[in-house]
Subunit: 257 residues, 2 copies
DNA sequence: CGGCATTTTGATAACCATCAAGACGTGTGG
DNA sequence: CCACACGTCTTGATGGTTATCAAAATGCCG
């Protein structure tokens, strides 16, 4: 894997990742040839990040990059003063990592690698200028941040008003749908590279309780679970258990203004 | 109160509310004279809304307006299939109500009046066109949606990882700081026009438990509470109880890029 | 094989929900 | 001005869900 020096001159995206990046933005709104060309003028760095390492730390100021996931998973996380952790978002390939901070001077949460990550670090100043000068790109990326905000709202509901079993079921449904939308094959189920402790941090329960709730979902015949490999056996059942409806993900292209 | 017909021709904002609206946007980023003039060209409707009535309903498509709160309070709310309610956001004077839906084709949550509301309903198409053609306005309003997203994240943490007492304390702190920032005098405390049941819906506990937790905060000498009038007696104590830090509200102007 | 993180299981306790009923406050109509 | 009705607040009793503590089992990696 080739790693370029950080923003060393006006480098231009040129490999397969270019295609992924443009396609990912275009999923959120139509781009013309000029828009696509403008995206290719962005300075960037390509880099590999190891699991658990931080991409952004709460309190960081002067952010210089805005990252895009080529492959791997990441998550957003906040801590209470007493050290209890809450994962507030999981990011998958094709997602931007910190568009949420695009116009914020200080990071209000941590962004951490879940697996090995292959990232494109876009120059943040360039990206700001790009979106402010190109309405189609602004619309697409703004929409992207609005959809993530919708997911935050659903998570507030999930953590606030569903029991442990429902929370886990809901998370498993959401992940399945988003991975499907990102084009990942799931005929053999999917691998969720996350510890049960992290799963608990994502839904506001302890790892012990996560273990019991997963076991219950297996006993009920809704899922199969083997060393983080998840296969949904009864989609309607799991959807019911998690009270899941994908509307909040705003996936239907025709449904988007 | 004068109520204009919905978007009947190119009406122009002309009263005090114009000043409030422009000032509110300008709080998020500098606007030049042209930007301010452009805002005044937006078609709009002024209207009064009664408590509990809906401004937006989950599932709504073809939204035609985007509202701004001149006075009064509103909240965002979602329901589980079993009818359990979660309030995911409280909106105060000077806030936009559904900028979160600006580029979404379908509403993913309900927006409801908490008190009598005095609203400016901006024409949504006009507003979309405005932000896409005026970078400074785009930046200001985008920033606004990003800050609300930051609040959503903090609420996930609040509901997921703090106990009942902490959740209530945190909410009371947040409300105090935001009202202060909006310029509301709080020397005699503030009036929180919300039932204890709704308070519970905002922090994911029952009204019975809300009652007991408020009582406990009073007993501890952190707040005074009398018929929804709240006076914070020990700011540091309450801040500690709620594990509150205002950084996620991104209020400091100089801290904003 | 040893060392380590993670998963699993059991026992106990804490927090919060639920159920129920009475008190209080406010607005309405007689 | 009182009686009444209604929503909200308050309090008590009980139970369930989940946390906590502890320890053993499993899987993984060098």
């Amino acid at each position: 894997m080739r790693v370029l020096p950080p923003f060393g001159g006006a480098r231009v995206l040129h490999d397969q990742s270019l295609h992924d990046l443009v396609a990912s933005i275009a999923r959120r709104g139509p781009l013309d040839a000029d828009d696509r060309a403008a995206i290719r003028t962005l300075r960037y760095t390509r880099r590999i990040v190891q699991p658990q390492s931080y991409i952004v730390r709460e309190g960081d100021t002067g952010l210089r990059a805005c990252s895009f996931i080529v492959s791997g998973l990441a998550f957003r996380q906040k801590l209470t003063a007493s050290g209890r952790r809450q994962i507030v978002s999981i990011r998958i390939p094709g997602d931007f990592l910190d568009l949420q901070h695009l116009f914020l001077a200080m990071a209000d949460h941590n962004v951490q690698a879940l697996t090995v990550l292959d990232l494109i670090d876009l120059n943040r100043n360039d990206l700001q200028a790009l979106v402010l000068n190109r309405p189609a790109i602004a619309r697409a990326l703004w929409l992207d941040t609005l959809i993530e905000a919708s997911i935050f709202r659903e998570w507030v509901l999930n953590v606030g008003r569903r029991d442990g079993r429902g929370r886990i079921a809901h998370l498993l449904c959401e992940f399945a749908v988003r991975m499907q939308d990102a084009g990942v094959d799931q005929t053999k189920g999917y691998y969720l590279p996350i510890t049960q402790e992290q799963l608990g941090d994502a839904v506001g329960i302890t790892s012990v309780h996560v273990n019991r709730m997963i076991k219950q979902l297996v006993t009920e015949g809704l899922i199969a679970f083997d060393r983080r490999n998840i296969k949904i056996l009864d989609w309607d059942g799991l959807r019911g258990a998690g009270d899941f409806s994908s509307l909040y993900l705003h996936l239907d292209r025709s449904e988007r203004v």
